[in-house]
């Protein structure tokens, strides 16, 4: 699984050359296009927050010092753009959590959530469960009152929606990756050329999305 701190030297260098806004944009795009929830970009979000706060201070200061209104408005616009990106990133994740909260909480995906997202997910589930219990489930015959199973006869939780990893996504890679197997039997492969656009099954490129080698568009 993609680990926030485990960057190779090469990745670290390319990170240094890219601004946080650019990285945030990439994270936002990937998050919007991926069918499942991706690793929360904790340090990136933290840095973006700090930059936005710093900019708020700057804007206050230059407004007080009677700078040209044009400069003030340009700084303001720049901050608004960064803020929009950050909010949209967080909101996209919340939407995914709302959709798949039970599945996420039962799997490794849980560790991809930030602390705040985890508590959001818990509260969201509690609310939904008590709502379902009160409005429907308590009125059903016993044996059919679970929010996770169709009936007591089900061995697994068969009423839990999960994201469809078989879906297709538009993607691009910056560097050439080599042959990628397209199915489990690996008798069909595709050779990704750097910079070219492909439509591929998400599952077949999932590891590359997670380690940042392939970007979703």
């Amino acid at each position: 699984m993609a680990n926030e701190s485990g960057f190779s030297m090469e990745e670290f260098e390319s990170l240094m050359a890219t601004s946080d806004v650019e990285l945030l944009k990439r994270a936002w795009r990937n998050e919007k296009s991926a069918p499942e929830i991706l690793q929360f970009q904790a340090s990136l979000v933290q840095r973006s927050r700090e930059q936005i706060q710093l900019m708020e201070g700057t804007i206050e200061e230059i407004t007080r010092n009677g700078f040209d209104p044009l400069i003030v408005s340009v700084y303001q616009m720049d901050m608004d753009r960064a803020q929009y990106m950050l909010r949209s990133y967080l909101r996209t994740r919340l939407q995914k959590i709302e959709k798949d909260m039970i599945h996420i909480s039962k799997t490794d995906l849980w560790n991809r959530l930030s602390k705040e997202e985890q508590s959001f997910s818990k509260r969201c589930y509690e609310n939904m469960k008590s709502y379902l219990d009160e409005s429907v489930l308590s009125k059903l015959p016993s044996g059919y009152q679970s929010d996770l199973k169709q009936s007591n006869a089900s061995e697994e939780d068969d009423m839990v929606p999960e994201s469809n990893l078989e879906t297709f996504v538009f993607c691009k890679s910056e560097s050439s990756i080599g042959a990628i197997p397209l199915d489990d039997s690996a008798d069909e492969i595709v050779d990704l050329v750097a910079g070219d656009l492909y439509v591929l099954r998400y599952k077949s490129i999932k590891p590359f999305v997670e380690n940042g080698k392939i970007d979703l568009v």
Partner: protein, 211 residues
């Protein structure tokens, strides 16, 4: 049952596409002095009258709206270059010419906010519309080649807006083919599966564009 993925959730709105395009760098010629700007998105300037500067499109439009600069349309937006692109688009029915990923949005923003900076704007506008039409027609006829054996589609040089428009259709089509092609759906006899064409001869991955 894994339900169909929600096509809406993966699509960027037109406003979001424009937002992304506004980060593209463009050249402006300021008519005022301004010290360098140290923005979150990068450092730009200093700005001196008549000295060209590179800025993101959103900043160019903001300055332009206040009458502080003229915008230099990018080289690919010249009549010569667009005419050539249009010709090549028409000549090669399976290939897309390289254009900026956000060419539709960039040209729209410039038409809306910097019309007086674009020489022969009507000609430029109609060339871009023609290019869009030709390309889109190609996309549509390319989609017809998607079949049950399509596991990957290559769309070299397709632009952001074009991607966004075909995304719901392409994703749903490929998904349906994939689903109905899966072994659980059809119990394929063993002989059948071995006689499947290999990647070398008009293989299962049928690209929209031949390499």
């Amino acid at each position: 049952m894994a339900g169909q993925s929600d096509p809406q959730s993966s699509v960027f709105s037109a406003a979001e596409m424009e937002f992304l395009a506004e980060d593209e760098i463009i050249e402006v010629v300021p008519n005022m002095r301004m010290e360098p700007l140290n923005l979150i998105s990068g450092d730009y300037g200093p700005f001196r009258p008549q000295i060209a500067a590179q800025v993101p499109l959103w900043l160019a439009v903001a300055l332009k709206k206040r009458g502080k600069c003229t915008i230099r349309p990018p080289e690919w937006m010249s009549i010569e270059s667009l005419t050539q692109v249009l010709e090549s688009e028409r000549d090669s029915p399976k290939e897309f010419q390289p254009l900026p990923f956000h060419y539709v949005e960039i040209s729209r923003l410039l038409f809306d906010h910097a019309r007086d900076d674009i020489p022969d704007i009507y000609m430029v506008r109609s060339l871009i519309e023609d290019i869009r039409d030709v390309r889109f027609h190609k996309v549509e006829s390319g989609l017809e080649t998607i079949s049950a054996r399509t596991h990957a589609v290559k769309l070299k040089n397709l632009s952001a807006m074009e991607v966004n428009i075909v995304r719901p259709f392409v994703v749903r089509t490929l998904q349906s083919f994939y689903k109905h092609d899966s072994p659980e759906m059809i119990q394929q006899p063993v002989q059948m599966s071995t006689s499947r064409p290999q990647a070398t001869d008009r293989g299962p991955r049928r690209d929209l564009r031949r390499r």
